[in-house]
């Protein structure tokens, strides 16, 4: 991404910024608008925010509109992306062509790491399932379709379980929904497991590197239907479990077997990180997941996605800060780092491949780039 123009976006009235092709460091005090800036970059790429699903929150007070424009270069070509929001109407234009929202998701992929990603480790299974679903959908369109079908079957089946029917009729009505639940459910489980294996292959080395080879991260899929065998056996097992749970399901009127109940176990040195890890360890694990996601996109597209790292340095010790910088200078990706603490001691590593921006209450000042220090 070469440049960004904002109008009435969050606390920016009007702002033009020219970015560095490699590392962009956005510094400034709390509440000055650092996260807002990378939120705008994310919005251009994904056509939604990573902080809210309410577009109107993004419009600067007290307005009802915002405008974001970004110039991207891709394979020697330049693309102009413009998004304007006005009273609930969203208009996305790429190089003079009107696009639908979410249509260009693969065009300029980004991966964001924000403080909220700590929740992936800390919260309940639903948060981790959400992460997995987003991650796998991004790499595999088919997964997204299967997941959607699975959820539809689940809703239908749960509704059926709530109906007052005699047992024989209910059994008969459940049969075809059981088939579909098993069918889509097994595909969902299979693809998730496969992707988690690949994710772990990337996340584990990054985590080791961050901890100076002192600690080990592993990922494990916890499935309510779990089998080491191939797809056919998974189907049999799924059916067996459904039958076993029939009584309870009818009593509780809800589906109690399937990937909608599964979890991802994130383990540091053989201990469940959710329960036993420190804040910094959890953050390192969350970062490793995000970097692994970026690496998988790199393997798929042959190019690194744009990395947006919001407040990535807080809560990390100096060694980890150094290693993050070291990692980022070693890959060929454009990244954006926000930080409210001075990073100067760490920037020596970066040679000249960066630019520092200073943000002050909704105004970005070009501070210095790598050449001048």
């Amino acid at each position: 991404m070469e440049s960004l123009f904002l109008k009435n976006f969050r606390n920016y009235l009007q702002q033009q910024v020219y970015f560095h092709p490699r590392v962009n460091i956005i510094s400034g005090e709390n509440g000055f608008g650092k996260t807002n800036l990378i939120e705008a970059v994310y919005y251009l790429s994904v056509t939604r925010s990573f902080r809210t699903s309410n577009d109107h929150e993004l419009a600067g007070f007290p307005g009802r509109f915002f405008f974001i424009k970004g110039l991207f270069s891709k394979d020697e070509d330049k693309h102009l992306l413009q998004i304007s929001y006005n009273e609930n109407q969203l208009k996305v234009i790429i190089d003079n062509d009107r696009k639908k929202r979410f249509d260009h998701l693969c065009l300029f992929p980004v991966v964001v790491f924000s403080p909220d990603d700590l929740l992936i480790i800390r919260e309940g299974p639903a948060t981790r399932r959400r992460f997995i679903n987003l991650h796998v959908s991004r790499l595999n369109q088919y997964y997204f379709q299967e997941l959607r079908s699975y959820h539809r079957v689940l809703l239908q089946r749960n509704k059926l379980l709530k109906e007052k029917k005699n047992r024989r009729d209910l059994e008969k009505l459940l049969e075809p929904w059981d088939d579909s639940l098993i069918d889509h459910g097994c595909t969902v489980i299979r693809l998730r497991k496969e992707m988690i294996r690949l994710l772990a292959k990337e996340a584990t080395p990054f985590f080791s590197r961050m901890t100076g080879q002192q600690e080990e991260l592993s990922l494990e899929y916890i499935g309510s239907v779990d089998s080491e065998e191939d797809n056919a056996d998974l189907q049999l097992l799924f059916r067996e479990l459904l039958l076993k749970k029939r009584e309870v399901e009818i009593r509780r009127q809800v589906t109690m077997v399937g990937p909608h109940l599964d979890d991802l176990s994130i383990i540091i040195d053989e201990k469940d990180s959710r329960k036993f890890s420190s804040q910094g360890q959890k953050r390192t694990a969350a970062l490793a997941l995000k970097i692994a996601e970026a690496k998988m996109l790199y393997k798929k597209n042959g190019k690194w996605p744009i990395l947006l790292l919001d407040d990535v340095f807080s809560e990390f010790d100096n060694k980890r800060k150094e290693r993050i910088i070291e990692f980022l200078s070693g890959i060929d990706s454009q990244c954006f780092l926000t930080s409210s603490i001075a990073l100067d001691p760490f920037l020596m590593e970066m040679a000249r491949n960066y630019k520092v921006f200073n943000v002050q209450r909704g105004v970005v000042r070009d501070e210095k780039d790598g050449d001048s220090c």
Binding site: R152, Q156, R157, L173
Partner: protein, 198 residues
Amino acid sequence: MAYPRALNRLVEVLCRFPGIGPKTAQRLSFFLLDCSREEVVAIARAMVEAKDKLDYCQICGSLAESGFCSYCSDGGRDRSLLCVIQEPRDVLVIERTGQYRGLYHVLHGVLSPLDGIGPEELRFEQLERRIADNHINEVIIATNPNVEGDATAGYLARMLKPQGVRVTRIAFGLPVGGDLEYADDLTLSRALDGRRDM
């Protein structure tokens, strides 16, 4: 904008058509106002006539002008073959392929607990009776390739197989979750060819 009352009412009524929003409704209204009185009456009459004259075929449930549809009354069609479809309009989709020579059975919907639609709401019983009373070799189920269409097919297969009839599902090369209505003729011809046993 404040429209005259009669115009407002017209726009409101047109909005009830599927796929027609206020803007299109407005355009249609102004079109009607530009028409001569005779033209408008002709349009209105065509609507009422269609409503009065068209009914569902007593045998298969597709659209018919007098008790029985043209397919059921056509002696040249293969009476041992039934194609089960969701909606009356799907008949036209299958006919368009020019490949199918059997008869139809329209369910008028699919199983969907969320919408309160169970077997009683659909023309399942008629289908069972039709198969019991006639010599039918094969039932091709052509409900839409989405979750509800699949479940309906599964339910029907279990229901019909004990009657000794071959039950097949049309093999979709269609986008998953799609609608029969939007399938192109070639895909649909292939789908009819490559149907699989259930």
